[in-house]
């Protein structure tokens, strides 16, 4: 009998929903025209792209001409940060502010800019994984070009006080970018009310296709181009439009906004059940990230004396897809920079598991995961020399 797979890694990616796929399909081999061309199948595609642009704009209270399609969240982050850095440095502004637990698309971009002569302030987050507007205010300088702070963290799900930081930056006349890849489609976002200047998003995080994303750029702001070439995206981002992807992204986000309220209630039920069950059933666990100020589908826990890859291998054998902040799963020797940033000792960072739920998950699946985890953690601890010391301590 084939084992049923429980997918609990929705922060990594999500399945394309059937209604989204249906909208995309005609644009592969029927309506395949290049939107820049003059004939009718091309004009239809131009309209489809503009419809998707309007769907996405409406989801974050932006205007359609403030939405620029990209190849995904990483490109959006690179464009926003490098583009603003370039234009602002021409005015002598070569200082950037971010946090020490951003996604690598932001952190590695910042490191590249440091090599190019920019100075970067990496604000520390507190033990809950939160940064404050006061910290940003204290780091601002006359030569600050950009503040870039993620909306919600991809590993521990904590949601930052974006509106407060946006208000501060607007008052001080400093550009504010947020990597909202994990937040868009999951929680309400209003770029006008929250005074966001640039916002990155990625389609495949909200049941859209991979390889497409968008950058919101507030009217009047003009980051330097990252991709040079043809005149697509009003001359700001070259490259023939990924029409099926863009159509899918627009539909997926519209669906996400329409179902957000009921989906959030469903995810909160699952999340709170899982946290409660793990804390009740398994000794010596630690919930990573703020208990409530976090994405509705995110659970991140560390199990003392356990190593994450071992936990993941056992979960995989049980048909459960999850992820870990362990070094062994990252391809590097260091555990998750996010977990180290919130002050976890190395062994607890190595022993973390991230479960991220989506609309397709059920409470029954959550129960099954908790039951399996209890057995798996006990087995991994039976093998661990650290657990003996734990018991004696």
């Amino acid at each position: 009998m084939e084992q049923k797979i429980i997918y609990a890694d929705n922060a990594a990616t999500t399945p394309v929903s059937p209604s989204v796929l249906e909208k995309m399909l005609p644009f592969f081999s029927q309506s395949y025209g290049n939107p820049s061309s003059m004939y009718s199948i091309a004009r239809d595609n131009k309209e489809a792209v503009e419809h998707a642009r309007a769907q996405i704009a409406s989801a974050i209270n932006a205007d359609p001409n403030e939405i620029y399609f990209t190849a995904g969240g990483s490109e959006s982050d690179n464009w926003a940060i490098k583009g603003i850095a370039q234009t602002q440095s021409a005015r002598g502004k070569k200082h950037l502010i971010t946090t020490n637990f951003e996604h690598h698309a932001v952190l590695h971009t910042m490191e590249e800019l440091e090599k190019a002569g920019f100075e970067v302030t990496y604000l520390p987050v507190n033990e809950d994984g939160l940064v404050t507007a006061e910290q940003v205010a204290a780091a601002l300088r006359p030569e600050t070009a950009l503040v870039s702070i993620m909306y919600a963290n991809n590993e521990i799900g904590t949601i930052q006080p974006i509106a407060e930081i946006g208000e501060l930056c607007r008052q001080k006349g400093v550009m504010f970018h947020t990597d909202a890849v994990q937040a868009v489609g999951a929680i309400p976002i209003d770029v006008k009310a929250e005074k966001i200047d640039l916002l990155s998003m990625s389609s495949h995080k909200f049941n859209g296709p991979k390889g497409v994303g968008a950058l919101y750029i507030r009217k009047g702001i003009r980051p330097a181009r990252l991709i040079h070439g043809g005149g697509q995206e009003r001359g700001q981002r070259a490259g023939t439009e990924n029409v099926p992807g863009i159509v899918g992204m627009g539909q997926a986000l519209e669906n996400a906004i329409e179902t957000m309220e009921s989906k959030t209630a469903h995810l909160l039920e699952i999340r709170d059940y899982v946290v409660e069950a793990i804390e009740r059933e398994i000794p010596r666990v630690r919930l990573n990230g703020h208990r409530t100020q976090r994405l509705p589908g995110n659970v991140n826990v560390s199990f003392q004396a356990c190593e994450g890859e071992s936990l993941l291998l056992f979960l995989d054998m049980a048909g459960i897809c999850a992820s870990s902040g362990s070094a062994c799963t990252s391809g590097s020797l260091d555990p998750s920079h996010v977990l180290l940033a919130i002050g976890l000792p190395h062994e607890l960072a190595h022993g973390s598991i991230r479960l991220t739920f989506g609309g397709q998950n059920t409470l029954e699946e959550a129960r099954h995961i908790c039951e399996e985890l209890k057995k798996i953690v006990a087995e991994v601890r039976r093998r661990s020399p650290l657990w003996n010391e734990e018991k004696g301590a």
Binding site: S326, C328, R383, L386
Partner: protein, 147 residues
């Protein structure tokens, strides 16, 4: 999973041999540290220069569990000087290969055996270094080999 393991590695991970403590061990070695995510503890019972019993406990990834498990099988019933011949390469071969980034786990298994045998000599007031050699059981040393 992003780390494809051989069936032999998965067998030793799923059903590790000789897990646990050994109350009457007369040689105990521990290598690695929590910072890099691997700790191996090896317990030996040595009688008449022969390893009559062996157990291990490991905090680590799938490869770390598998290398310690197979190492215990490879030294059980062996004479000390035979066990000292165990190389990380032999551990990797017995497991039908390891992903390159996991090779350090096989070094750790070799070091864990040598660390336990060193302890055996030290308990008898014998300096183990001329027999076993100096041990590199610091994280930085063994991690750098595979990554």
């Amino acid at each position: 999973m992003s780390t494809p393991y051989s069936p032999t590695v998965m067998d030793h991970f799923s059903n590790p041999r000789n897990v646990g403590e050994l109350p009457d061990a007369n040689a105990v070695g521990e290598v690695g540290n929590p910072k890099c995510g691997d700790i191996m503890k090896m317990y030996l019972k040595i009688e008449d220069d022969v390893i009559s019993d062996v157990r291990f406990q490991t905090f680590g990834c799938g490869a770390a569990i598998a290398t310690s498990s197979i190492a215990t099988e490879m030294i059980r019933g062996k004479k000390i000087d035979e066990a000292l011949q165990l190389t990380n390469r032999a551990v990797v071969e017995a497991l039908e290969g390891l992903p390159p980034i996991k090779l350090h786990c096989s070094v750790l298994a070799e070091q864990a055996v040598k660390s336990a045998i060193s302890d055996y000599y030290r308990r008898q007031g014998i300096d183990p270094v001329p027999i076993v050699g100096a041990l590199d059981d610091e994280c930085d040393d063994h991690c750098s080999c595979g990554a």
